[in-house]
């Protein structure tokens, strides 16, 4: 079968092996430099005892989700208005699991938002960016009789929804 690979095995000089090992040594030094900020953070957290669940407690989004989890029953559904790309929606979904999570964009129009709230029997409407102006759907929902704002500290806004009072159709 040598005709398929007509080259004899190469012989590597010890210099090449040494060069490879030296390069690897440099690579390890680079790795140490690369992970140094993380390692420093780790050491300082261990020294302060700020580890594990305490790290999450420093996050306002987590505290808000914690307050919500006390309000939303585990079998309930909620609509969450947020941009998927922000990467925050998955965090809230994670904290609130196993509650049923329905993601819609913040600028969802009223017919679609009302349809989802009604059809999926959602009991809560959550908006992550509470300091931003409401989108058209959320504005219409807030003005309806079916939605009641909850007073919870945190970065977002939360509303209790009576989905039976919503009739999804053309609200525009």
């Amino acid at each position: 079968m040598s005709y398929l690979f007509p080259f004899p095995p190469l012989t590597f000089s010890p210099h090449l092996t040494r060069t490879l090992i030296a390069l690897w040594g440099l690579q390890i030094l680079w790795l140490a430099w690369h992970f140094e900020p993380e390692a420093r953070d780790l050491v300082s957290r261990i020294a302060q005892g700020d580890v594990g669940a305490a790290i999450r407690q420093a996050d306002p989004l987590y505290r808000w989700a914690g307050a919500l989890s006390a309000l939303i029953p585990p079998g309930a559904s909620y609509v969450f208005l947020d941009n998927y790309e922000a990467g925050k929606e998955i965090e809230v979904r994670y904290y609130l699991a196993p509650r049923r999570h329905l993601l819609l964009p913040p600028d969802a129009v009223a017919p679609y938002l009302f349809y989802v709230l009604h059809q999926e029997q959602a009991s809560f409407l959550l908006i992550r960016e509470g300091d931003q102006p409401l989108g058209p759907g959320a504005r219409a929902a807030v003005q309806s009789q079916a939605v009641q704002e909850l007073s919870l500290p945190g970065p977002g806004k939360a509303y209790r929804v009576d989905h039976r009072r919503l009739r999804w159709g053309f609200y525009d």
Partner: protein, 464 residues
């Protein structure tokens, strides 16, 4: 403080139970378990235990039994006890106890200490980084960890409340939820500690396989450290709770054992173990079944090419690992079909030539970029060159076919990926390192063969 210690003990207890299940399964599958070194068996037992435990959890939920620690562990521990009470099981235990009474001295010298020290420092860092920080990485939060929380809270595979790639296999979420049952609560930072352990077991397996390929202890330790400390991808996957590290581990086990079998160096029972690891691959990640199929395809092609004596018998023997693959694949597929879970068709919408061409350059760059895997892939290429024509005339062909074939498959997969031109670079950036991670430990075996060519040891090793 006391609560943390109790939680750690409960986690270790759960871990010990998984290893015990695997230990009992090995006693059943292997005529002579001590043909495998202690370190090797520890690694293999964990993988075997994980596959058995999570498939059992799938069976429980299928039959409508809500999860509880008693129901998850009780029958399996009873089965393990029964297996260990058989003559073969009793022999394995008595031999291991005897070996424990006469511990072997390690006798490490300069370079050995350096390599071992590097590995220990890296694993210690990874363990602290994993176990002291909450779960945070994207896929961990969005998919694996989220499902684990749901499975724990609903005491079953309830996928009605989430939409997180529900058709993905569930070995990892079920394992994480099992540990939550052991802890009696969701403690995602402590449970993340199993990932550096999994990485350590992967490294132990690589070390053991390298020793079986006749590398000296120093060479094998150096090779293991070379895999672990090259680029950032392997290190990061030790603490981000993704399924890619487990898939890399199962792939290394399946491909490594099958290589030994092809090279007539495998201990008895290796094919059955290969089947178990192929099952782990198929049940671990969506990419697992095709990857597992390529392990068997590469082995079949190698046999057909090399035409060893008893070719047809050997080809037929591959039906045993194939059965393992099906055991890992079919239960979940049947469950998906029974529950009418929608299946994603992410990669089946068309062929995009410009993406295919771009993917070649992205792949080449990722293989040589120090950031991803350091010098490892260039060294693998050098090893293939060193092997020369032996690559075509020996079972090393299996490894070359598996690695080369899958690199080609990665390019093809990007050629059919339905992304926009603007999104394609970020899509590749987010996935390519993980696809390569699945192959990298197995590629290190090719490097081991290159080392063996360059620096042959006088005789096969018999001590770890």
């Amino acid at each position: 403080m006391i609560e943390a210690v109790v939680s750690l003990l409960r986690l270790l207890g759960g871990l010990g139970a998984v290893i015990l299940l695997g230990y009992a399964l090995l006693a059943l599958l292997l005529p002579q378990p001590r043909d495998f070194r202690a370190l090797e068996r520890l690694s293999l037992a964990f993988g075997a235990g994980v596959v058995l435990l999570t498939l059992w959890m799938l069976a429980l939920t299928w039959r409508g039994h809500p999860f509880s620690l008693t129901l998850i562990l009780g029958p399996l521990l009873a089965l393990s006890a029964a297996l260990l009470l058989t003559p073969r099981g009793r022999r394995a235990i008595s031999q291991d106890l005897q070996a424990l009474r006469t511990p072997r001295r390690l006798n490490l010298t300069g370079w050995d200490w350096l390599f071992a020290g590097l590995l220990i420092v890296m694993l210690l860092y990874a363990f602290l980084r994993a176990a002291l920080y909450p779960m945070w990485a994207w896929d961990a939060i969005a998919t694996w960890g989220c499902k684990a929380r749901v499975f724990y809270a609903t005491q079953g595979l309830d996928l009605t409340c989430i939409d997180a790639h529900n058709y993905y296999p569930n070995l990892l979420p079920l394992l994480l939820s099992y540990f939550y049952f052991c802890l009696g609560q969701v403690n995602d930072h402590l449970v993340q500690g199993i990932f550096p352990l999994w990485g350590a077991l992967l490294l132990a397996l690589l070390y053991s396989l390298a020793r079986r390929l006749s590398l000296s202890r120093r060479q094998a330790l150096g090779l293991t450290a070379f895999l672990a400390l090259n680029g950032t991808v392997f290190v990061v996957h030790l603490y981000i709770a993704y399924a890619d590290l487990p898939l890399a581990y199962f792939t290394l086990g399946a491909a490594g054992l099958l290589y030994l079998w092809l090279a007539d160096q495998a201990p008895r029972g290796s094919l059955a173990l290969t089947g178990l690891f192929l099952a782990g691959m198929a049940w671990c990640k969506y990419e697992g079944p095709p990857l597992a199929a390529t392990v068997l395809l590469a082995a079949s092609l190698t046999l057909i090419w090399l035409r060893p004596p008893g070719l047809w018998r050997r080809l037929l023997s591959l039906s045993l690992p194939l059965t393992g693959l099906l055991l890992g694949y079919l239960p979940w597929r049947l469950f998906v079909s029974q529950q009418h879970l929608p299946i994603g068709a992410d990669h089946l919408q068309g062929f995009y030539p410009h993406q295919f061409v771009l993917a070649i350059s992205y792949l080449a760059a990722a293989l040589i970029q120090p950031y991803y895997f350091g010098l490892l892939w260039p060294a693998v290429l050098l090893a293939a060159i060193v092997a020369g024509r032996r690559l075509w005339t020996s079972p090393a062909l299996f490894l070359a076919l598996f690695i080369g074939g899958n690199l080609l498959a990665v390019i093809l997969a990007y050629g059919v990926a339905p992304t926009s031109a603007a999104e394609f670079p970020s899509y590749v950036r987010a996935t390519l390192d993980r696809l390569l991670l699945h192959l990298t430990p197995t590629a290190a075996l090719l490097l081991a063969l290159g080392l063996k060519e360059l620096y042959p040891t006088p005789k096969s090793p018999t001590t770890p």
